[in-house]
Symmetry: C2
Subunit: 224 residues, 2 copies
DNA sequence: CGTATTCTTGAGCGACTTCAAGTATGGTGG
DNA sequence: CCACCATACTTGAAGTCGCTCAAGAATACG
């Protein structure tokens, strides 16, 4: 519809140099952090608290969210093993974070990271690229929220499949309520939509949180 | 419907003397860009195109947006005078940008910015902080999209008032359709809601795009 | 001054929510 | 290992907010 390619004289940059899929940041020996275990549903940090650390999920999974005064909750993102969260420019967190299940988190001091970035351009660039990637994800999330319920669920399933599929199925760590709050739907709509996908053989349940994707192309079409 | 004209080459002669509002980034003499004029509804860059530049609005206003295959459009953000957009980590833009009205844009090469950031930790930090601020805004936008129509409009009005109120009123540069696509509503709902605010003396129209906020606390309460 | 565009208004409809049970599931102590 | 309970998930029926379709009014522009 609107895509036309534009002629340019400057060759495209080497992508690999800029985008590291799952960034090696925090693998560097000289950035030292501590690993901390968190039980299911335990808060890692709260909205409004001073942001002194940055976090990397070693195993388990995490949700970040904002709540409105009347209790409505918007989950801004899920973070799975290997992913980094808590990067914020302000001195305080603008959202809360909780462990979805038993999780191990690597906790790194912000100031240590900054000074590392200061002295090392490569680190600084990675830090920025990571934040920019997060921004992109957030924008896609907003795009998700204008879609229909079926489309949102389809997009969610494809996303989760890509991030944590193994042995032919997807094992969701989060509850229906979490999914609902991520997709801006009610828990009933999530449940009903999943049931309808199951009845149409688009997916197959092996327990309520273990799902086999049987018809990806249909999900992809819904993903518009 | 929306005309698409496009730049192919960037003229070198013009050099901007930049006066700015917000971030001091791009005020530095050694980052050189060129100012370009854009007519109303003209595309600045398109989704999927190589991202070679970063942009700063000198005057006028800009919308960035994504479109779904069936034409639904999500405006991800509005950028007003002094604000910076187009910062992306990937080699290509993940959204499109258009001038809302006659706008003047400062266009800066990405690579120049990166090398500046490389050699100057302060620049690198500003670049990151700017991206992180954008992320925060995007997350707040997602939060907006779970609210009711009235709440979304209230939040929008307060946001716009803060960013461009003058002489006691807000002069909106964007159409009702733009507002609708930003808030995930239809144009009719936007219009109806504004009318109801007006009837309740929460706001007052001085022309369809010129609005006086008469009852901010009510708008703030709606902002939950 | 006429035409195109933008904005408003109305009526009916539909997707998702709300309210209300009912059914699995999983963890715990006996 | 089973019985129990709490939690998580599903299903149904009715309601509602925002959408769709359809005109009509206001505004901008040549």
């Amino acid at each position: 519809m609107i895509s036309r390619t534009r002629l340019t004289t400057v060759p495209r940059e080497v992508k690999a140099a800029v985008v590291t899929a799952h960034p090696s940041l925090f693998n560097n020996a000289w950035i030292n952090g501590v690993t901390m275990p968190f039980e299911r549903n335990v808060e890692i940090f709260g909205e409004g608290e001073p942001a002194e650390y940055v976090y990397k999920v070693l195993n388990g999974s995490v949700r970040t969210y904002k709540v409105l005064s009347d209790g409505r909750r918007q989950i801004t993102a899920f973070f799975l093993a290997g992913e980094i969260f808590g990067l914020e420019s302000d001195g305080e967190h603008s959202y809360s974070a909780e462990a979805i299940d038993k999780a191990t988190i690597l906790v790194i001091r912000r100031c240590g990271m900054f000074s590392a970035a200061e002295s090392n351009g490569e680190i600084a660039h990675q830090l920025w690229a990571l934040t920019a990637a997060e921004l992109k994800r957030s924008q896609n999330h907003a795009l998700l929220l204008i879609k229909t319920a079926k489309e949102r669920i389809a997009a969610f399933l494809l996303d989760m499949a890509q991030r944590l599929e193994g042995n032919g199925y997807v094992e969701l760590p989060m509850s229906r309520q979490d999914i609902a709050d991520y997709l801006g739907l009610t828990i009933e709509t999530v449940s009903r939509t999943l049931t309808s996908f199951s009845e149409g053989s688009t997916i197959q349940f092996m327990g309520s949180r273990r799902i086999v994707l049987r018809n990806r192309s249909e999900l992809r079409e819904l993903n518009a």
